[in-house]
Amino acid sequence: MFRLMYTIRRFEVTMERAHLEGELYGPFHSSMGQEAVSAGVCSALRLDDVVASTHRGHGHAIAKGAVLGRICAELWGRSTGYCQGKGGSMHIVSMDHGFVGQSPIIGGSGLLATGAALAFDLNREERVAVAFMGDGAVGQGVFHESLNLAAIWRLPVVFVVENNGYAHSFRAEQMQVNPDIASRAAGFGIPGVVVDGIDVFAVREATRTAAARAREGGGPSLIEAKCYRWRGHNLGDAEHLYRAREEVEEARRNDPLERFRAATFDLIPPGVLEEIEAAAEEEIDEAVRFARQSPPPDPLTALEGSF
């Protein structure tokens, strides 16, 4: 789990730099600060469980096992990317790893996961579908439709709302009267819990419970993971218009990686984490090399694959 979290952190740092240096293009939404949610949720899943994600999905893809080189190559718009350059940062898919796609249409991930769970239910498979969503998704009607469908059909879905405090510039308190998103669950007759999204163990535990329940036919659950978005909404976001630098600094003191270190201080021998870090960094460097060396897609492939 530390490896996952560290990889995500370094990945975001590295991609951000590549963007600033003009090597990458297109929108970029960093998941920095939210690593414990990605890692905690996905480490509680099986390989054949599936995850649907959002515009802020790098962490989810990595945590679900997608290959870094192919993610990088997609961000670089190369033919070796997961989507052969057709997707980009907001549309990574790795079917091999059950990462069934991102929907940057707010609320869309809930639909995809509900549908996947419906497929599992029809095929009597013991698989679970997870929808990552932002707190912004809670404004959307489809969020509620998904909860309701999953509830009445007892579908194996875990809805994970990453409440990082903001939907772009909009604070969660401005978007709903009741600040606990988990409270929406009751109206649909499903469990709703709040977890500390900085604590990877707490997230994993909550996900395990929800996934086990889903697998046993107990139906969906809603997990609200409270966390904080360290970066601007996207690269180039004029953050200062809506939040103070001090607020961000304060929040960053609550670092999921440091929290892990502190929690495992007595358990993990010195040097082990450092080794993991080095290995992760090496993997990322390698992925970047792969992306850079990959050829761009053949333009004519743009015209293939659609009715």
Partner: protein
């Protein structure tokens, strides 16, 4: 339609149906009658009223290998589920670099004639020509319904399958077993020499009536049923024009922005020299569909309008939009 769906359910375990009033009720137009009993309520699923998530869940199931049939009761309600169709169903396959596909049939029906008013009478298939990633099928005869449905449920892409309310009671011979009909192949429903009238669904029937009216006036009309709008069988139309040199394209949808514009543009670009006169369109007037029958008759394109456009295309009377 019922048989087509039953066949699909029997033939392929991956097929299931979602929609409102499907189970005990058998569908408001009876197209799923008895299917829930026969195949179980899990494969013929009654839905709460929630078009966006019904269609969106269809996409989610499709990418996991299922073949959902999703029924939108009135085509007007497609507006409630537009995001799932346009941004998800039509795009997930392409965007993923073909790692996934979203094969699903979105069944719906629309059109006027039952006086349901503006929000329950629209003909909206033209929107979907403009949405790359979807096939658009609009069958006319009962045997085409079956043959085209058989293909639609097997195609690896999402298909919008549009029926017309007025045609649910049409009877006609259906071969057994029915052959799948390829998408993108129109048929000539009636041979003629002077003008080609092209339509889909209900408009084909109206074109045939118009053809009979015009016969009395000495005009010989060829009627083409395109059967699908995506893919669009432009070649068949061009072949016919090589013979008739005059074209009228008919649809009940509002003329402005309707698919006839696409066909006319294609024909003009690819067969300008075959045309002895400007191709004309016979579509409905640009207002919502009103309730009262006198009003509806004024704005909806029907056999009288088609006949009039033919006369105009042939220069028998002057053209007026």
């Amino acid at each position: 339609m019922r048989e087509a769906q039953a066949d699909a359910l029997s033939a392929d375990d991956r097929v299931f149906i979602m929609g409102q009033e499907l189970g005990e009720y058998g569908g408001v137009f009876r197209a799923t009658e008895g299917l829930a009993e026969r195949f179980g309520a899990h494969r013929v699923r009654d839905m709460p009223i929630a078009e966006q998530s019904m269609l969106g869940a269809g996409v989610g199931a499709a990418i996991m290998g299922m073949r959902p049939i999703v029924e939108v009761m009135f085509m007007d309600f497609i507006a409630c589920g537009m995001d799932a169709i346009v941004n998800h169903a039509a795009k997930v396959g392409y965007m993923s670099g073909d790692q996934m596909r979203a094969p699903m049939v979105i069944r719906t029906q629309g059109g006027s004639g039952t006086h349901h008013g503006s929000q329950h009478s629209q003909t909206l298939e033209s929107w979907f020509l403009h949405v790359p990633g979807l096939a658009v099928v609009v069958p006319f005869t009962p045997s085409d319904v079956k043959g085209l449905f058989k293909t639609s449920i097997r195609v690896d892409h999402p298909v919008l399958f549009v029926e017309h309310r007025a045609l649910y009671r049409t009877r006609g011979a259906v071969s057994d077993p029915v052959e799948p009909i390829p998408l993108g192949k129109g048929v000539i429903r009636r041979r003629g020499d002077d003008v080609t009238v092209v339509g889909i669904g209900k408009s084909v029937g109206q074109a045939q009536i118009a053809a009979r009216l015009l016969e009395e006036e000495g005009v010989s009309v060829e009627v083409i049923d395109l059967r699908t709008l995506v893919p669009l069988d432009v070649d068949l139309v061009l072949e016919s024009l090589a013979h008739t040199h005059h074209l009228v394209v008919a649809h009940e949808a509002v003329e402005r922005g309707g698919w006839a514009g696409e066909l006319v543009s294609r024909v003009v670009a690819e067969g300008f020299d075959e045309l002895d006169a400007p191709p004309l369109r016979a579509g409905s007037r640009p207002v919502p569909v009103p309730f009262a029958k006198e009003l509806e008759a004024e704005m909806i394109a029907d056999e009288r309008l088609i006949a009039q456009r033919v006369r105009q295309a042939l220069g028998m009377v002057e053209y007026a939009p």
